[in-house]
């Protein structure tokens, strides 16, 4: 059973469907890889394999309102670069966090939409004050949505890479995360990164047995 916010997000999939996009690209890239293999172009076979891996990685980093069965479908299409063990790890470690983030995102979108709807409905002489309040709240929420786009990018990336590697310290991580943001997202990124790092540490610690 999919959570309610994934069911709500089905509407968004009519406009932007990351699953359909990744399936189309993976299929095309697999055809190119097969053609390169037939022609004995080993460099290109390897190249397409890597392109497919990055394609899957980009999708998994932010699968939007995809359902768990969609992730499994992508694994079946790209099993050469996204094996069973990777799928199990993703569903156990990254997917729950993605769902939590998506829930907050959906609530924010719904609240923003509701504020504007309320403003439109209450824009009558008698209820003008309530309408103005709704409108102002709507404007604030739109600003929050802009800030959220930076926050979500940082959080997704931080929770995607949770293993510790020698040489990958907080300074490198911060630099690398900020590089991936647009200029107008960077100030929010600088502020949010330390907070997001603390949250990840707590989240990971709460996952540990005992």
């Amino acid at each position: 059973m999919n959570p309610w916010w994934l069911r709500v997000g089905c509407v968004g999939r009519l406009f932007d469907n990351p699953l359909a996009r990744v399936r189309r690209m993976l299929k095309w890239e697999a055809e190119l890889q097969a053609e390169a293999r037939e022609r004995g172009m080993e460099d290109w076979v390897s190249e397409w394999g890597h392109v497919r891996l990055l394609r899957v990685r980009d999708y998994l980093m932010d699968p939007g309102y995809s359902r768990e069965e969609d992730i499994r479908a992508v694994q079946r299409i790209a099993h050469d670069v996204f094996g069973e063990a990777m799928l199990s790890h993703y569903l156990a470690e990254v997917w729950p966090f993605h769902l939590a983030l998506l829930k907050a995102e959906t609530l924010l979108h719904v609240l923003t939409g509701f504020c504007w709807l309320l403003t439109g409905l209450l824009w009558t002489p008698d209820l003008k004050a309530v309408g103005v309040f709704g409108g102002l709240l709507g404007i604030v929420l739109i600003y929050v949505e802009f800030g959220w786009s930076a926050a979500a990018k940082i959080l997704r990336r931080l929770f995607f890479v949770r293993s510790e590697f020698p040489g990958v310290n907080a300074d490198f991580e911060r630099r690398s995360l900020l590089k991936g943001l647009r200029w107008w997202q960077r100030p929010a990124g600088r502020v949010l990164y330390p907070l997001a790092r603390v949250w990840r540490r707590r989240y990971s610690a709460s996952d540990e047995p005992g």
Partner: protein, 119 residues
């Protein structure tokens, strides 16, 4: 759909004053293939190679126009060979995108120390 490539081919044809049919003959594909490219249909790899020669542009550029991700990642390819079906491949590939060549090499050395997981 890959309109960026279609626009590039169309622009070159316009500049050189040639037709679709001429281009098809010149690079040895059917006129329908060129029509498809100009309509935004993704070509196969052999057509891409031929177009690359005609346009005088490297394959990597044409692939980028088609929305295929950028290349130059020998270290990342080696990671896949070393680690196989292991989530750390995804993590390391992600980290490598922000690294300079020396840092990539260092991370690769770390990966070589990990036991290879089962495929």
């Amino acid at each position: 759909m890959s309109m960026a490539l279609a626009e590039l081919v169309s622009e070159r044809l316009r500049e050189s004053g040639h037709t679709r049919k001429w281009l098809a003959q010149e690079i040895g594909v059917s006129p329908q293939t060129i029509t498809n490219v100009l309509s935004g249909v993704r070509p196969d790899i052999s057509t891409l190679e031929k177009l690359s020669k005609f346009l005088g542009e490297p394959m990597t550029k044409l692939l980028q126009l088609l929305g295929v991700l950028p290349t130059e990642h020998a270290e990342e390819e080696e990671l896949v060979r070393i680690l196989g079906d292991d989530w750390r491949v995804m993590e390391m590939v992600t980290l490598m995108q922000g690294m300079n060549p020396e840092e990539k090499q260092r991370l690769l050395e770390v990966a070589r120390l990990f036991p290879k997981s089962n495929r």
